[in-house]
């Protein structure tokens, strides 16, 4: 009798395991924490765990190997995505410091970390089963997180997310079943098979798989949940969702298109994805124009931003993946930063998420207004921010790989978005203070988070470190 637990390569999932165990620690420590400091205990333990996981994940970077019989890949590509996910988890976890009911922060932090585990598993997933389980671990946590505050809109967002996301998951696993039927294997690597190019099971299966992916990336017309859920969910959850879901799904998508396609099928197979990405760039930015709520606006903005990232991947060039990663990191920083500022401003009922409550912010909180300006400029893609450089790179990559129309849509979308972002900036720098909202007291953690994000959004423009050796590790 062999002992599978001994032979399994547990070191491959050490970062994931640390994060999962941290969540348990949070739940246990919560019993012993005093009522006042409860949420800081949860956040503190969470951050320590994330830091440890980040360290161990970074150590795996150079060593890429398959673990668990080819089900999970370690190193390189997976590491980069895992670090992005951990970063976003840390940035979102911090924002729980600003949330109202402290008695549930422990549970919410734990679920958030487990969700992050799901995304990290997606980053390394090399078979359909791991993709599915990672996605579900991520999504189930998010359903619960969305509804975890006492607010009508939060519960509504959870219900909408639950129904729509489960439907999309249905498409995804039906697609997986067809892919399994086409190859007889659940390994992604077995999809690289010239014979599959003529298999209808493969084509329709891949199509349904992509429906699930595109839903999670919230591209038009699969985006309808995004604004509602972004607006309704608690702020830390929105921040988490806006980055982690996208990062995990992008990892799966990138691995699929770079390492798991039958030869000569990429162009025909992925065309619908590029089309919806192109539509998203326009529709997402247009959707922002008439918004009054900042979280909702950022939801639409996320729709367009993911469109940009996909434009880099169009053509499946190695450089495109690097640029997409660069933009994803930049996007993580600017989004987390924007949410951190929003968290520092909005009160416990999040009435402060209304754009109107930003009126005259530059007078009341000049630093926060400046940070927000940086993030919005970055989202709009203006120099000297990482968003600007990222867009230039994406443009060059999409044009170089022959998808000029995506580049053109990117430019048009950017032009539209300028107006929407400028509207917010303008409100912040308006001279009349409007009705002075009682801004919440100083929230140090949110400020620190915003400051760090702001520094990175600028610094990344000047030192665009992107891992150069990612592509060989995708496989």
């Amino acid at each position: 009798m062999t002992l599978p637990f001994v032979h399994a390569d547990w070191s491959a999932v050490v970062p994931v395991g640390i994060v999962a165990a941290t969540a348990l620690f949070i739940l246990i420590a919560d019993f012993f924490a005093g009522r006042e400091g409860q949420r800081y205990v949860s956040i503190g333990i969470g951050l320590i765990g994330i830091a440890a996981a980040g360290y161990f994940a970074a150590r795996q970077f150079g060593h890429n190997y398959d673990a668990f019989f080819g089900g999970f890949m370690v190193g390189g590509f997976a590491t980069v995505f895992q670090e992005i996910i951990l970063l976003a988890a840390a940035g979102s976890l911090i924002l729980y410091a600003t949330i109202g009911a402290p008695q549930r922060v422990a549970g919410m932090s734990a679920i958030m970390l487990w969700s992050a585990c799901g995304a990290m598993l997606m980053a390394g997933a090399a078979n359909l089963m791991m993709i599915f389980l990672g996605l579900e671990l991520l999504s189930l946590g998010l359903y619960a997180l969305c509804a975890a505050v006492d607010r009508k809109t939060a519960r509504e967002s959870a219900l909408k997310y639950l129904i729509l996301s489960s439907t999309a998951t249905g498409f995804l696993i039906f697609g997986f079943a067809l892919l399994f039927g086409a190859t007889g294997s659940i390994r992604l690597a077995d999809l690289v098979n010239p014979y599959l190019a003529t298999s209808p099971y493969f084509w329709i299966g891949a199509g349904m798989f992509l429906i699930g992916i595109v839903f999670k990336l919230s591209l038009v017309p699969f985006h309808t949940w995004t604004p509602d859920v972004f607006e309704g969910a608690p702020l830390p959850v929105t921040a988490f969702m806006s980055v982690v879901t996208k990062a995990g799904t992008l990892a799966v998508f990138a691995r699929f298109i770079y390492a798991a396609l039958p030869p000569d099928t990429a162009e025909g197979l992925l065309l619908p994805v590029w089309i919806v990405a192109g539509i998203s760039m326009i529709a997402g930015n247009v959707g922002m124009l008439a918004q009054e709520n900042l979280k909702r606006l950022l939801g639409y903005s996320g729709v367009a931003q993911i469109g940009y990232i996909l434009a880099a991947l169009a053509g499946s060039t190695p450089l495109g993946l690097r640029y997409a990663l660069y933009y994803l990191v930049a996007y993580a920083f600017m989004n987390l930063g924007a949410f951190a500022v929003a968290a520092a401003i909005s009160g416990e009922d999040e009435e402060g998420a209304q754009i109107a409550s930003y009126r005259g912010l530059a007078r009341r909180r000049p630093w926060l207004a400046a940070a927000m300006t940086v993030f919005l400029l970055a989202l709009a893609g203006l120099p000297p921010t990482a968003g600007f450089l990222g867009k230039i790179l994406i443009l060059s990559s999409s044009v170089a790989s022959g998808y000029v129309w995506l580049g053109a849509l990117l430019i048009i979308g950017t032009a539209i978005s300028l107006y929407a972002y400028a509207k917010v900036i303008r409100v912040m720098y308006a001279h009349d203070a409007g009705e002075a909202h009682a801004v919440r007291p100083f929230v140090p953690l949110a400020w620190v988070s915003a400051a760090i994000c702001g520094v990175f959004v600028i610094a990344m423009t000047f030192y665009p470190l992107t891992p150069s050796n990612v592509l060989p590790l995708v496989r």
């Binding site: 599978p4 739940l27 668990f68 089900g71 389980l133 619960a144 975890a148 505050v149 006492d150 519960r155």
Partner: protein
């Protein structure tokens, strides 16, 4: 062969009934029928273990959960009286759209050359044990160990998630004035039941 067609008819009919039933509790019954038929179909496909799981987990656990929630939500009225289950106008265009796409899918499937499903190239388990508990368990604890462990996490999330949701959220879940609405509905229901 004949069992496939019988089961297929049952499956489709019960599925249609599930989505067309006038009360949610009937939908549950239809779904139960569907799951049972599926379990039988699994046996014919030599997946005995999954047939058992289908009955135990799906019919025994999940559907009971549904019934419980229906009872919970309609408490204050007669248990299981929730409904009527409104069917909005959208069903016609929605149905047409979906059926068209279904047509395409079936068309594409029928285009499949029979050779697309090749004889197996080396099964994991030996053919005579295929689908058995031992075959299943061996794979689950070796090749698919990581997915199995992840499932534990998923269940953990479900447990903690429900606790987190239920802890405080239930407190003010029902909006004010709701009781009166429920009461009125209850009276109407009793009246109607009485006249029937």
């Amino acid at each position: 062969m004949i069992e496939f067609w019988i089961l297929a008819v049952i499956l489709v009919a019960s599925a249609v009934w599930t989505i067309a039933a006038s009360k949610p509790v009937y939908s549950v019954v239809a779904l139960l029928l569907n799951f049972a038929a599926l379990a039988v179909l699994y046996v014919t496909l030599s997946a005995e273990f999954l047939a058992v799981i289908q009955i135990i987990v799906y019919s025994g656990a999940i559907l009971v959960l549904f019934v419980f929630v229906i009872a919970l939500l309609s408490s204050g009225v007669a248990p299981f009286a929730m409904g009527p289950n409104r069917l909005p106008k959208i069903w016609l265009p929605g149905g047409v759209v979906v059926l068209v796409s279904l047509g395409f899918l079936v068309y594409a499937a029928s285009q499949a050359v029979p050779a697309s499903v090749r004889p197996p190239n080396g099964p994991v388990g030996a053919a005579n044990v295929f689908g058995s508990v031992s075959d299943f368990g061996a794979a689950l604890f070796t090749v698919q160990l990581l997915p199995f462990e992840v499932t534990a996490l998923i269940l953990m999330v479900a447990v903690i998630g429900v606790i987190t949701l239920g802890g405080e959220a239930m407190r003010d879940a029902a909006p004010r004035g709701h009781e009166r609405k429920v009461e009125r509905a209850m009276r109407e229901a009793i009246l109607r039941e009485g006249t029937d």
